[in-house]
Amino acid sequence: MLKIDHPICNLCGLCQKSCPFGAISTGEEKVTVDERCTLCGACVNVCPQSALSIERRQASPEELARYEGVFVWTECEDREKKIVPRKVVYELLTHGRRLADRLEQPLVAVALGDDRMAGLERLCHQGADRVIRCRHDLLGGYSTDGFTTALAAVVAKEKPSVLLFGATPSGRDLAPRVAARLRLGLTADCTGLAIDDQGQLVQTRPAFGGNIMASIVTPYTRPQCATVRPNVFTAAEPDTQRSVVIEEFPVKLNKASIRTKVVEQIPTPAEGEKIEEARILVSAGRGCGEASNLDLVRSLAHRLGGTLAGSRAIVELGWIPHTLQVGQSGTTVGPDLYIAVGISGAVQHVVGMSSSKKIIAINKDPDAPIFKIADLGVVGDALHILPKLLDALKSD
């Protein structure tokens, strides 16, 4: 609970102003706090009198120091009859290398799969000191139960200090299961990770649809677990000179312990490459008017060698499948170039694409929020501009 030391409080009111939840009021005689307080600590930091405090539990440094190493879950995907690590893993290893160096601890990739797993040398080329490989027939496809059991076993035995997951659909399915099983703190969907002077992992993430950022630590539990958005960190070029160390980690699993079964798979026809991995995305919103106008947007995407994507609005209208949806409830993308066509740029959309290197926006509404983040914003009707643009690009 928030403690207020009334005798030293001078009623300056800064705590009231700093409260993100409007839970504090400064009266004539004293400051009061109501049930909206979440103990986030924003007020404690601003109080000039140090009159505010929050009791927090302490764990001994010796206890925490027994845990060592930055571990990255190596999510794999099917590719040509093999299962290979996906792009976000290389991004995490690149940044994980920096964290591990700062901690002077090893960086370890944990790969779960069956005998089709391939390309694991690259995990070391991307920075891992070693790979822990867990092979089992029941790990051939993702299942919550199978993967939780295997990964929790590795973590419980190896005792890492940090455990990172890509914030992909499977990563966000797996991480909270593993964390809850081992009773660990977990921070979702981070966009920044750093090590502070005490060697703690400082996890930064957007909240309230990206309106505010929060830095979070995990003081008492190890490993410190986080899921990390794809396309936030850039993967380094692989260094093939690095030595490759792959260790086997045997796990026991039985079929009965996997309590879900796949009945049917219904793939959606692909537009091109996965939007998460595309270099160029041309993304359509409700401003495109009607579904048939998407051909224009698609033509531009093809002309530029890119892929079509879209906003939640047009997914709900049924113009495109959810697999192409950019944003908070869709996919986080980070292409070199993002062209937003008729997308107003609601916060939920922007958090899913703001790490794009260059952004072009075309929208009729001059006040559309998308213009705030665009490198080039054009106020106008995309349906009139795109045909001219395609003509202009044709003549190249």
Partner: protein
């Protein structure tokens, strides 16, 4: 059959603005709503009940006393009864402490639960962690990102069509199980007057920390494994070039010049 829907009241974040000087949220005039994904979960519960009339739907929400209004909406939309989990001692709970508390409530109030439905994430925190953490604490299988749900003919399993990155897949899990909803067919329907009136006669019970089999140091901030150390506004966005009042051909030319100079063509 007992079906628990866990719901959260959230600020309507599309209207949340940040005070540029203090970096804090401006909450005046921001409405509190039932989190849309929780509403989808409730939609699925109501449809499962339509197909299986013996289902009892129990809506559960942890939050401040005003979260009662989110539960009222659940009762209006078809929940049979509701449980408000509210206590100052729960304040500051991270996802783990929230899940531990909700799991304790479910264990105590609905020990014979068959199915737990949750929204895929809340639009304020966006963590998507509380559902899976509840499932793990209660030892249940989980299926995330559901868009269609039905019971199998022998009513022992739940069958869920769910979104995956390459399209959809259909999964089955033995119940009791936890399922998260990422979409509902009925989008944000308005309750009828009859719904509103009948909701007033349904039970809305309050649960406090004293009602649970948890020790105080497992609750709220003390029971949380993660701690927010700093809250700050996002980095200001760069100033780009904004062109207004151009003819389509001229606008197209500017875009082409940009694409060329940046090396995309």
């Amino acid at each position: 059959m007992k079906l628990v829907v866990c719901v959260k009241q959230v600020p309507e974040i599309t209207n949340v603005r940040v005070n540029p000087e203090t970096g804090t949220l401006i909450r005046e005039g921001v409405a509190s709503i039932l989190n849309p994904f929780c509403e989808y979960a409730l939609d699925h519960a109501v449809r499962l009940k339509a197909a299986n009339p013996d289902i009892e739907i129990i809506a559960v929400s942890m939050g401040p006393p005003q979260a009662q209004s989110a539960l009222m909406r659940c009762l209006e939309l078809g929940a049979d009864r509701a449980i408000l989990v509210s206590d100052r001692k729960f304040a500051g709970a991270d996802t783990w402490a929230t899940a531990l508390t909700l799991a304790a409530v479910i264990r105590k109030a609905v020990p014979d639960v068959d199915l737990i439905l949750v929204g895929k994430q809340a639009i304020d925190g966006d963590t998507a962690q509380v559902g899976p953490e509840i499932a793990e604490i209660l030892g249940m299988p989980q299926i995330m990102y559901g868009v269609e749900m039905s019971l199998t003919p022998n009513r022992k399993r739940i069958r869920v069509k769910r979104e995956i990155e390459s399209g959809y897949e259909v999964l089955e899990a033995r119940m009791p199980a936890l399922v998260s909803a990422s979409k509902g067919e009925i989008m944000r329907r308005m309750p009828s007057l009859a719904d509103v009136l009948s909701a007033r006669h349904r039970e809305l019970r309050a649960v406090t920390a004293a009602d649970l089999d948890l020790s105080e140091n497992e609750l709220g901030l003390t029971g949380s494994f993660t701690q927010v150390v700093k809250v700050f506004p996002p980095a200001p966005k760069k100033d780009g070039l904004k062109l207004e009042g151009l003819e389509p051909a001229a606008a197209a030319k500017e875009i082409a010049v940009f694409l060329r100079s940046a090396g995309y063509i």
